[in-house]
């Protein structure tokens, strides 16, 4: 018997998309790792901003423009506070991909050169891999990878060995893996990285929506995340950086809003964080994200984490009932974020997702933008089920039923 899971935050009703029916059936959404659904409060806040407070920011003297400024800056303060950051060092980007590119260009081009190394891990999303590969190629530096062990975890000893080589300028790694689910020991890693005189960049895309994140405790030099996975709108991401580093870095994109003054042949940059926000920013999206983090704070991130952990434990337990199903990543829910990747013997992951869909369940299949990791795992693709605040045990049951029915379709 699977464990009884009480964990339901009972918030489905806050998310209007769950009122939709697909062929008469309810939406069973287990793809929050790709993007989360949005609470009514976020949808309303964005609409209300556009309806009643819309003006461009940073340039108007009239009342409406001041409202827009207040809304944008207010959103930044909330977003910064949500993860224990400061507004000046909280930069809005388009998504976490852009946040990482910002660092790879602005910091990387100035600080990485021949003979240097950038260290990443085998479990990185392409967003935290390709920018470093391009940087290293361009600057004739070496890109090295920390291995993932059979449990889907990194080794601190291996990290120390790499750092001891003395050439590592920056270590970039995911807080939570989007394929394995592994929660990496960020504070332990950043302490070692700092001691070795290197910088750290943490990709928090899968962590911020699921667990309490305290930037001070984590100690990363750069920490990026993406709004749309954290109940917020698409089109907005966040980069937190250490002030001295951001101060010294050249801008990534240039243009309006990010300058202090411009002559015909020279320019001086605006102060932080505006130096890194060229052009009109995603204002309504920032407002939406501000309300998303309010919503999460009201639930309580400790509660959210507890909920996701118990649902993940339930998911691991129930998926174990499906013959031929193999889970990748750490076996214990304590060591994981709220997602489980798996393969089913005799059914290709695409077909697994298709069969789940017949049971009304949305899961994702493919390489999850982590092709090097797929090769390490020795699979071409996996199916992945990921949970959000709105899921409950019944959603997992529906997935397991659909998989069992799918095995029958395939004559297994």
């Amino acid at each position: 018997m699977p464990p009884v899971v009480e964990s339901s935050l009972a918030v489905k009703a806050d998310f209007p998309i769950f009122a939709r029916r697909f062929g008469g059936r309810e939406l069973i959404y287990l793809d929050s790792g790709a993007t989360s659904q949005k609470p009514q409060a976020v949808i309303d806040a964005q609409a209300e901003h556009l309806r009643s407070h819309n003006a461009n920011v940073h340039r108007g003297v009239y009342a409406l423009a001041q409202e827009a400024d207040a809304a944008y800056d207010g959103a930044r303060r909330k977003v910064a506070a949500f993860v224990g950051g400061r507004p000046q060092t909280t930069i809005f980007t388009k998504n976490v991909t852009e946040a990482i590119n910002l660092v790879a260009y602005s910091w990387g081009r100035a600080n990485v050169g021949p003979g240097d190394a950038v260290l990443i891990t085998q479990m990185e999303h392409h967003a935290n891999l390709v920018p470093w590969q391009v940087l290293c190629r361009e600057r004739s530096a070496e890109l090295r990878y920390l291995e993932v062990d059979e449990r889907g975890e990194l080794s601190l000893e291996a990290l120390e060995r790499e750092l001891a080589r003395g050439d590592v300028k920056l270590v970039a790694f995911a807080h939570v893996s989007n394929v394995l689910g592994t929660i990496n020991p960020v504070a332990e890693m950043t302490a070692r990285i700092r001691a070795a005189g290197a910088l750290s960049l943490v990709d928090g895309a899968q962590a911020v929506p699921q667990m309490p994140v305290d930037l001070q405790a984590l100690g990363a030099d750069f920490y990026g995340w993406t709004g749309h996975k954290a109940l917020g709108p698409t089109g907005i991401g966040v980069l937190h950086g250490r002030e001295e580093l951001l101060e010294r870095m050249e801008p990534f994109l240039t243009g309006g809003d990010m300058i202090a003054s411009v002559d015909l042949q020279s320019v001086s940059w605006n102060e932080l964080p505006y130096k890194f926000e060229a052009g009109t920013p995603p204002i309504a999206e920032a407002v939406g994200l501000g309300v998303a983090v309010d919503y999460l704070s009201a639930l309580g991130m400790e509660q959210v984490r507890t909920h996701e952990r118990s649902l993940t434990a339930y998911m691991l337990e129930r998926l174990g009932e499906v013959p031929g199903l193999r889970v990748v990543g750490p076996p214990e829910a304590e060591r994981r974020g709220g997602l489980v990747s798996f393969t089913v013997e005799g059914i290709h992951p695409h077909d697994v997702a298709e069969l789940a869909n017949r049971g009304g369940v949305c899961i994702r299949a493919g390489h999850h933008c982590a092709q090097p990791l797929m090769r390490c795992l020795g699979v071409g693709a996996t199916a992945r089920a990921s949970v959000g605040v709105y899921n409950d045990a019944a959603d997992i049951d529906a997935l397991v039923d659909a998989l069992q029915a799918g095995r029958e379709v395939f004559g297994l």
């Binding site: 290709h348 695409h350 071409g380 379709v409």
Partner: protein, 126 residues
């Protein structure tokens, strides 16, 4: 009965015809489905301007494997000039099941590899 996973589709998936490699071969093609990392390669032996023999290999979903298996029977003996004229409709019709927009790539992966091997045109279907 299942619309997509008809018995014959699953039969081809589990026991594909002409699966494997062919050595020596005259032509070869290799295609990836960038969405899912699937990979499909073909080896072709040519005689008198026709496909004398053909094998496909790689890994993929039921739709891509069944497409390759079903098509392999039709392709054997086909004039190379005619292979270059085969289009997506030919493959989908041959497959005989309704294919959604997302699964279309799976269904056409094999024909893409075969056409690439025969015509050198890797851009199809653009």
């Amino acid at each position: 009965m299942d619309d997509l996973y008809r018995d014959y589709i699953l039969e081809h998936y589990k026991r594909p015809h002409n699966f494997g490699e062919l050595d020596p071969h005259d032509l070869e093609g290799l295609e990836h489905n960038p969405l899912c990392g699937d990979e499909l390669g073909v080896h072709i032996r040519v005689k008198d301007g026709r496909i004398e023999d053909l094998r496909f290999h790689g890994h993929g979903c039921a739709i891509s494997q069944a497409s390759a298996s079903i098509a392999s029977e039709e392709l054997k003996g086909m004039d190379l000039d005619d292979v270059g004229k085969l289009d997506a409709d030919w493959m989908i019709e041959l497959l005989g099941i309704p294919v959604s927009a997302t699964r279309r790539k799976c269904a056409l992966l094999n024909l893409k590899a075969v056409r690439g091997a025969v015509t050198g045109d890797n851009a199809w279907p653009s």
